[in-house]
Each structure stands twice: as C-alpha cells, then as structure tokens.
C-alpha cells in the first residue's frame, strides 16, 4: 500500500512538467506567483464575505455582495488547487511527509466542505436575497474565516519543517 503510493508519487515527480519546473526557476516562480494570486482572490473575497455575513461590515449588504464574492472565492479556490497541484509534483514525496502540508490540505478540505454545506442550506439562499441571516449561516461564516486563515498559516509552515 505504502509502496504503491511511493511509486505513484515517484512517477508523478517524473512527469515532464515537474522536470521542467525543477530545471526552470522562472517557470516555477511564475506558477508560484499564480498560486499566490489565487490565494489572494480566496482570502480577499472570502473574508469580505464572512465579515459581511457576521455583520462586521455594516455598509456592505449581502444582497448584492454575496453572490459575486462567493464566485470570486470559488474561482480562487479552483486556481489555487490547480497551481498547487502543479507545484506539488516538483517534490511530491517530500510534501506528503511534511506534517504542515498534510494539515494544510485537511484544513482546505474542511473549508471547502463548509462552503459546500452552506450552499445546500436554504437559509443561505434567503440571506443572499436580502432575507434575515440565520445563526447557522453566521456559524458557517465564522468557521470559514478561521479555516482559511488556519490554512494560510499551515501553508507558510511547510517551509519550516
């Protein structure tokens, strides 16, 4: 089982893209920059959205801000996962042995699950259309802010282990 995983990750590190990224610092730093831009999109949009839901930004109503902010955040998550996956292939075996990386991936999983659960919450849809913000929506917003910030901290930690 472990052997299969090791072989799989070894094979992943040998795909032409990973080899190219190891050889070209410019390609690596451009993907890295794209990853940071994606993270910026997530954090900028999601914290603005979370603060709005929590009522910390009194001038910012959920209708009309809710939908565009969640779309930008979703775009950021998609781009961050794609660029992150490419960066991962440069050194997959080292990353899967890095506790901070594993914690980061788990936190992102929780944050995305939290967002998907909120999407299925009917109170979310009524809040988006200017209705009352149900406590369950506020709880999701609080979790969202904490999980995304924690994911950033875990991500920064990768290089220090």
């Amino acid at each position: 089982m472990i052997d299969t995983l090791t072989q799989l990750l070894q094979a992943l590190s040998e795909w032409p893209g990973a080899i190219a990224l190891r050889r070209s610092e410019v390609a690596y730093l451009l993907i890295n920059a794209a990853h940071i831009v994606s993270i910026g999109l997530i954090i900028g949009a999601i914290l603005t959205l979370d603060f709005t839901i929590l009522g910390l930004l009194r001038q910012a109503p959920l209708q009309p801000l809710g939908r565009p902010l969640s779309r930008v955040a979703a775009l950021g998550v998609t781009c961050a996962i794609l660029t992150g996956a490419v960066l991962f292939t440069v050194r997959p075996l080292a990353y899967v042995q890095n506790t901070a990386f594993l914690v980061k991936v788990a936190l992102i999983g929780l944050a995305v699950a939290n967002a998907l659960i909120l999407r299925r919450n009917r109170h979310w849809h009524s809040a988006l259309t200017g209705g009352r913000v149900h406590p369950s929506v506020r709880v999701a917003a609080l979790f969202s802010a904490l999980l995304w910030i924690a994911a950033i901290v875990a991500g920064r930690w990768i290089g220090f282990l």
Partner: protein, 128 residues
Amino acid sequence: MTRILFKRFLSSAFLILLIASGAAAHHGWSWAEADQIELKGVIRDIFIGPPHPTLDVETANDGMWHIELANPSQTRRAGFVEGSAKVGDEIVALGNRSTDPKEKRMKAVRISVSGKTFDLYPERIKTN
C-alpha cells in the same frame, strides 16, 4: 460587546499570522547558528530544484543530516548542478547548523564532493 471581542480576536489572529509568516523564513539565516561547523558523511538523497535544493547526508556518528543549499540560481552559479554529485558520494559540508540543538539541519556555505569544492555563499565562508 461580542462584536468588539470578535473584532479584537480577528485582529490578533492577523497579527499572529504576520509574525509567523515573516519571522523565521528558512530562506534566511535567522534559524541558523552564527558559528560554522564541518560535517562529513555520505550523500543519501539529492534534490536539485526550487524552492530549495537540499541534500540528506548520513554521518558516521551523528545519523542523518538535512543540508540546505543556496537558492536554485545561486547553487547553479556555484557550479553545483544535476550530476555534480550522486547518492553514495562522500561529502564534506561547511555551514551553519540550526539554533535548535536537537535539529540535524544545516545551511551550507561550502560543500566538497569527490575532490571538487562548491562555494555556495563565498562571502559567508569563515576560514581560520
């Protein structure tokens, strides 16, 4: 009241985040001792590439050490590229070890492999 507390909580979370991300960057030297040590051993793993080229070196008496080289461009300018060393080669590394005495990690300034010397940080090499 809760709103004010929450705002305070968020601003302290941000502060912690900023400190955590800036203070001990492994790309710098802050995590390493000022004094340099010399390490002899056998290369067990080589990684050449971004974000940081590294070597794992097995020493005779002190187990496995993790050696960080300079950034990818600097390491290449020092002449150390893919093929410069292979797993099993003997190596002598001069560098600054982690300030944490339990951690077997070094930031190398000079490495010598099979009679060839690579000066990663020429301006930092301290010789007697």
